[in-house]
Each structure stands twice: as C-alpha cells, then as structure tokens.
Symmetry: C2
Subunit: 317 residues, 2 copies
C-alpha cells in the first residue's frame, strides 16, 4: 500500500498546496485506489501523477466543507469522459448530504456518467465495509460540522505452505497441498494423517492506515488511530495555538503527535497545513511535533509514502 | 480594457489548458474585473495572475456544463476568506438554475459569504445591463443545453475640452469650463456668448467585446459579434470537422473565422480547444482560420490581450 497526497492545504488553495485530497493505493493483487476527500482541483493534481481515475473505485469524504468536496463533481465527470475499456462502478462514502450535492451538481450540468455511481451515507459509527482484504471503520470526529475519520485495516496475509518441510515429511505433492494450505487435517494413502497447520509459515500481519478529517482532540481519535502503521492527522495550528485550534475546531501539531505517541502509532503524517505556514515555519511545525513523536513528517502535495508491513513480536503471529 | 484567459480547454482540464474562464479587466477609472465562466480550478489559475478576487464584481455564465461552472462555489468561498477592506457585492448572470447550483453548494458546505451575492437569471434576449460606462447584451446560442453569448459595448468617451483654443478665444478659466465641457452655451462677463460644443474635441468611440459560450453557427452570432473589436469564439473542432461540430453542437475554427469576416470583427480569439489539439496541431487550427480571417489567434491559458480603441472614420466621430 502507498499513500499519495494530492492536496495538503487548509481552506483555500495556495500556490504550493492544493485543498484536501489523499489517495490510498492498494497495490498487490487489488490495484484499486481509494480517495479520501476531493477538494477543488483534485482532478488537476491527478494529471501530474500516475494515478488513473478509472482505478479509483471508492471515495471517502470526511466532511462537507468546500475545501474537501468541491472537486467531486468535476472529478466524477472527467472520469466519465475517459475512453477505453468499460468503466467500473464507483462508490462514495460520506456524511448525509453528499449524494444530494453530487446528484444536483451532475443534474444541473446535465452530466450523464458512463458508469454506476453509488452512495453510502454514514449514520452509525463502527465497521463501514468489509471485503476479502480490508475492513474500514468510520468514527465521528469533533469539527464545526459533522466530520468522520476512517481506519483501514488490511486483513492478515495467511502464511505460505512450507513445501520443503512437506517433502521432508514425504507427503506426496498434488491436490492435497490446497487442503493443507487451508489448514485441514489430511489422511495420506499410506494411512498417516498430517495437519496442515504444522506446515504453514507465519502469517503476515495486515497494515492499519488511519485517515482523519478536520478535528479537535476527542476520544474517538484513539479508537481510530490505535496501533496504526500510518496516521494521517490534520495540523492546522502550531504549538502554543491550542486555544485557537479549539476555537476553530482544529488541532495543533503537538496534539497530533501526543495522540500518535499515546496509542502506539508507527508513523505520523501531518497535513491540512494553513497558508500561514510557509518555508521555515513548516519545518518548525514538524520539529515541534517530532519532539513528542519522532517519526513525524509534515507532508507536501505529491509526497508519496510506502506503507511497510508492521514488525510484530513472534508470539503475536 | 484587457482580456486574460484563465482556461482555454474543452470538457476536461489537461496539463496545458484548464477548463473555461476568461477575465475582462475594465481598466481606466473603473478597475473592476468581470469573469466569463468559472470552470473548476479558476481560483487556482487566478493565484498565478495579478487578478485580485475582490476586484471581480460580476460573473457571466454562458451555460451550465460542468467545465464552465464547477469552479464557482470554490471561487466564491475563497473570495470570502480574503481579509482586509470590506468585500464588495458580487452579481452572477447566467441561465436559469445557476442560483440553485451555487446556493445548494454553499449550503451543503455551510459556507457563509462575507459579501452580498446577487443573481440575475437570463430570460429575455437583448440588453441585460447598463451602467455609466457599459451596455451588456445577451443572446441565446445553439448548444446542447441553453447557452448564452455576451456583447459588452463600452460607451463612447466624450471629447476633451480644448483648453488651448479657449485661451485663444480669451475665455476666462474657472467654473465655466465645466459648463462648456457639458456642451452648454455660456454668456461671458464681457457679454460674448460661446458654445461649449465648439470647444470639445472629437469623441472617442467605445470598444465592443463579444464573448460567446459553446455554440453551433446560428444567426444570433451575427447580432452578438457585429463590428466587435474582439470576438472570443469557441473552436472545439478543426477545418473539415463541420459535421462533427454540428453533431456535438460546437464550431470549427473556419466557421468562427467566417463569422468574424462577415460581420466586421477586428480581432478573433479562438478558445475552448480540445485536448486532441496539441503542439503543431494548434498552429494548424490557427493557420486554417487565418486563411479566412487573418487577425486570428488561438489562445493559451494566461494569454492577455489589450483591447485597443477602434479607429473610426472622421464622419463617425
């Protein structure tokens, strides 16, 4: 998995930072891409990446502020104009009202999409979706308007079948390998029984990525961020601006770092950077956060991060 | 007056052309700026110009296709965020539905503007607005959906008072200059009467700028473009693609040039260039049009054109 930031600014675009959007690339066998927020100009940013809009099959919206949603109608329309193979469906997850906004925008512009568009408007906190490879959880944050954070849990990869060890045990190769890999107990032709579980290597833990919308500090953040391999957290304000952050329903870099430290996050990526922070001041934001949580980075537009598999203690595997 | 193109592409943004927007800068004493269409990313383009959003007090929308309106909510919101002196009101002229689109976008995003926003939805063709300096006319074009073209007529500048000639006539300077300039007949202290009209130089003709939305060729184009000093015309297709242009409710470069020639246009600016036209092919578009109407240019994003005063025959002045 890889994260690519398409917009890392707050409120309005600036010359150096577009408004919010981040792509989560599910590499490996799935090759789909999920977008989190679609500020105005996200489709323009995508033109400068290797992301192909047809690969984006899910969009998660944190909240309805313009700098997080105004790029949605244009992105959806342009995705429709792309030729070639049949365009797959796309599902948008977001707060109540997101389907109205998109549908009205498409209707007034008389845009007929070439693909199926589905909406899931969030109501209850907890497990939002589950498929073969992922579970996605959504919990409410504390912002000026309804706002959600997302926790993407990759499922564990099952261990590999240890073929060499099976050969040593003189188990015949063939269809029984599939049953052994599934963990079954198999009776061989010579009467011996062997247990698949004894021939499967260690499972590889899946990764956890937490992507938050704009928020004050609130207990749900701990639920969302616990043990995350990567936490994407807003940092609209700097150290010493806690009061401002609270008044404007945002967070400081130090609050984000404190959360990361408290709940065992591996890497903290700070985004939603105010236009007031430029040049050296961005380094100061990062430095202040690093004092609390060393593995912190203030991201820029187009920054890309590979998400490594977590190292776990043996007894957990 | 000056035209600055902020987006010159068709349908979707490309790396080299953004979707539609053009700014008409009313220099001289007014110093206001009028925008024609606001495709997604127009506010981003403005960041790379000297245009200050607060100076934009009128927006004219040609039609409701997404590549002409999806930048409107973001532009309006960001204009609101700008600090400093009190922000003046802004009026949007456009087809029926434009106020719904904007109001719903602002409502769902809970955006409260810091300035007064007014709408004028077009119904009848003809004179749309008149002030001290300008008349703006709107006529319907022939596109897939309701679409309008705008003709901006600058009023003539009255001639200057010929102070030297007054001195020669030994007319005393002072408050009577104002009355003479207004064309009054004034009785001097020495009993002579002098006619202001004899001491006013030639009037300067105002300029005519015609900015069209997407369109097939249709008789209203002639009404809109007659004697225009500058005609901004779409050129989605090239020579020999007349049938395609007709089917998709667009024009070819040669159709635009033919119109310009027929109705006495001074300069033709071709925009709304398809992403199919890049590099040398753009030059070909321009060359084909120039064969019919030599003073033609295919515009690029950020191209800026000063609009010169027309030279008129003496008897017209």
């Amino acid at each position: 998995m890889e994260l690519e930031f398409l917009g890392t600014g707050a409120g309005s675009p600036s010359k150096s930072r577009n408004v919010s959007a981040v792509a989560l690339k599910l590499l490996d066998e799935i090759k789909k891409i999920w977008l989190f927020d679609v500020g105005e100009g996200t489709q323009h940013q995508i033109l400068n990446t290797t992301i192909r809009p047809r690969k984006i099959d899910k969009i998660f919206i944190t909240h309805m502020h313009g700098d997080h949603i105004f790029g949605l109608p244009g992105f959806l329309s342009s995705r429709s104009f792309q030729g070639g193979e049949k365009m797959g469906p796309l599902t948008i997850y977001g707060p109540k009202g997101i389907s109205d906004f998109v549908n009205i925008s498409l209707k007034v512009s008389q845009t007929k999409l070439s693909y199926e568009l589905n909406f899931v408007e969030l109501e209850e906190e907890g497990l939002l979706l589950e498929n073969d490879r992922f579970k996605v959880y959504a919990y409410k944050l504390d912002h000026r308007i309804e706002c959600w954070g997302y926790r993407i849990e990759e499922k564990d990869y099952p261990g590999e079948l240890q073929v060499e060890k099976l050969r040593e045990a003189k188990a015949p190769s063939g269809p029984i390998y599939g049953r052994l890999k599934a963990g079954e107990v198999v009776t061989l032709e010579d009467g011996r029984t062997i247990d698949g579980k004894d021939f499967i290597g260690k499972a590889k833990k899946g990764r956890i990525v937490t992507i938050l919308g704009d928020t004050r500090q609130t207990p749900n953040l701990k639920l969302l961020a616990k043990d995350a391999d990567v936490l994407v957290h807003e940092s609209t304000f700097g150290k010493g601006e806690g009061k401002l952050a609270r008044n404007y329903h945002h967070s400081t870099c130090v609050q984000a770092a404190t959360l990361a430290k408290e709940v065992g996050v591996k890497q903290l990526l700070l985004t939603h950077i105010s236009a007031r922070y430029v040049g050296k001041m961005v380094k100061v934001l990062e430095k202040e956060a690093k004092k609390v949580f060393p593995n912190t980075k203030v991201v820029k537009d187009f920054d890309t991060f590979n998400i490594p598999f977590p190292e776990r203690k043996d007894d957990e595997q």
